[in-house]
């Protein structure tokens, strides 16, 4: 698992860690069922506070990409496979936008602008999630 962080960047360190993990998941390098390194190990390697790493893992949990279970660590969920599938479509979208002269930032802003709270597109099932009720509530 490759993690890059830039302390000079405006993006928060925890978000950068989450970005690195997410891109490895989307690239198919980290598969569902894989346990992410212990937060303490990663914090030591990056020479940062362990809470920053935990915050990154919580971020990924909020995205339902990992399951945080006491004693088992951060386990990548089956959403990982969906992300791999989706990444091809995202690439196609970015490529098409590029061909039309629309920058990646603009596309990102458009995606962010749609908002995550809306209902899933008609005629499509929501992304399958294997989550217990307590975890969904947490």
């Amino acid at each position: 698992m490759l993690i890059r962080i830039d302390e000079a960047s405006e993006r928060a360190i925890y978000a950068q860690i989450a970005d690195s993990v997410r891109s490895d998941i989307a690239a198919g390098k980290i598969r569902s069922g894989t346990t992410l390194p212990a937060a303490k190990r990663l914090a030591e390697a990056l020479d940062i506070n362990v809470h920053t790493v935990l915050r990154a893992y919580q971020q990924l949990r909020d995205e339902r990409l990992v399951d945080l279970r006491r004693g088992r660590g951060a386990v990548v969920t089956s959403l990982a496979e969906t992300l791999v599938e989706l990444s091809g479509e995202v690439r196609a979208l970015v490529d098409r936008a590029h061909a039309l002269g629309v920058s990646q930032e603009t596309v990102a802003a458009m995606v962010a602008g749609i908002g995550g709270q809306g209902p899933p597109p008609a005629g499509r099932d929501p992304i399958p999630l294997q989550f217990s009720k307590e975890q969904a509530a947490a």
């Binding site: 698992m1 000079a8 390697a45």
Partner: protein, 367 residues
């Protein structure tokens, strides 16, 4: 002030396929480890046959540590036992032939290392021990009426050992010093371009595969069975119990520690640490001379899976055939590890190496 940093010493690889020194080294190994020991067997058997009519019956065949004869048998026993022992020892030379099998299991030509010199020297040393022992104990009994009349002779028990050591040392240094490292088909790791305040780490693990665990389970069964068998033998041999006990513990420990090695690559270097905390292989950033990614053939290079040493001197933590990392070190043996996503690991480690070099350059300019 120094004007330019000293260039890195680049190891010059020698083509493994057609090394001009290899035939000479092979011939020397064969002479030291096979022909001379066989010659010793032939000579001692011939002499023994010539002496046979002059030997007492029974003759002394076993001595206590103090050089007093305490076992007696027909001279025929020595006629069989000495050549047989000599031949069994000489047969150990053929363990080096395992390398030919290994060569077939990976691409590239021959490799050659200190072990190729050591095995023939050990064979010669053991052969010389038997030869001297035979000669001294037999000549001492020539024209004796009965082996029981033999005077205590400590010298005959002591002299063979310095002779054996001398023969071994001579045999080792009589062979040319030659090291042909395995030339792996590998690509250098490409450093990642980083911003000024950017850092990169790679975390992963070398995990035991099912075939490895099966092999270790098999070894564990054999080791336990031999230990139990040895313990039940009467009289109890302390040495045998100790040897099999140590073997059992060694197999157990090796199996346990190599279940999983956690690997961490950061700006300090590379660390591969067993999940138990020990052992720990540590390569500091400053000592890294090369980072390569490529196919690793555990059987072809190391003779098997696990935490191992290769003939050409590399240390390997190798659990399966497939992608992995080769790390050159300024001091110490090259490290070979099998890793998933080795490409990214190599990139991270190459970045570490580059960063350490840049750091050293800055320090060099300021001194």
């Amino acid at each position: 002030m120094t004007d330019a940093p000293t260039p890195e010493p680049t190891p010059t690889p020698t083509p493994a396929s057609a090394h001009p020194e290899l035939p000479r080294a092979k011939a020397a190994a064969r002479i030291v480890g096979l022909y001379v020991p066989l010659g010793l067997v032939v000579v001692q058997t011939t002499l023994y046959l010539l002496w046979l009519p002059r030997l007492p019956n029974p003759m002394a065949v076993h001595w206590s540590g103090a050089g007093v004869a305490d076992g007696f048998a027909s001279p025929m026993l020595g006629l069989v036992m000495f050549p047989l022992t000599g031949l069994v020892i000489t047969a150990l030379f053929f363990t080096t032939k395992l390398q030919d099998v290994q060569n077939r299991l990976r691409p590239g030509g021959d490799v050659w290392g200190p072990l190729n010199r050591l095995i023939p020297a050990i064979v010669l040393s053991a052969g010389a021990l038997i030869f001297t022992l035979n000669l001294l104990t037999t000549t001492a009994q020539l024209d004796l009426a009965n082996g029981r009349d033999l005077a205590p002779n400590l010298a005959a028990m002591v002299i063979p050992y310095p002779v054996a050591i001398a023969a071994g040392v001579l045999g080792y240094f009589a062979q040319p010093k030659l090291r042909i490292a395995y030339e792996a088909d590998a690509d250098a790791g490409e450093p990642i371009e980083l911003a000024a305040a950017e850092r990169v780490v790679w975390l992963g693990a070398i995990t035991a595969t099912k075939p490895y665990l099966w092999a270790m389970a098999g070894a564990l069964v054999v080791a336990s069975a031999s230990f139990i068998w040895i313990v039940t033998l009467r009289p109890v041999s302390v040495v045998a119990v100790a040897v099999t006990g140590v073997a059992l513990v060694a197999v157990l420990v090796l199996t346990l520690v190599s279940m999983r090695f956690n690997v961490r690559i950061d700006e300090r270097g590379l660390e591969a640490r067993s999940f138990l905390g020990w052992p720990r292989v540590w390569v500091p950033a400053e000592s890294i001379t090369s980072v390569e990614v490529g196919e690793i053939h555990p059987f072809g290079e190391f003779g098997g899976w696990g935490w191992r040493l290769s003939t050409d001197g590399s240390v390997g933590i190798v659990m399966r055939t497939g992608e992995g990392l080769r790390v050159g070190r300024a001091s110490g043996r090259p490290l070979v590890i099998t890793l998933d996503d080795a490409e990214a690991a190599a990139a991270a480690l190459a970045t570490t190496m580059q960063h350490a070099r840049a750091q050293r350059r800055i320090e060099g300019d300021h001194s």
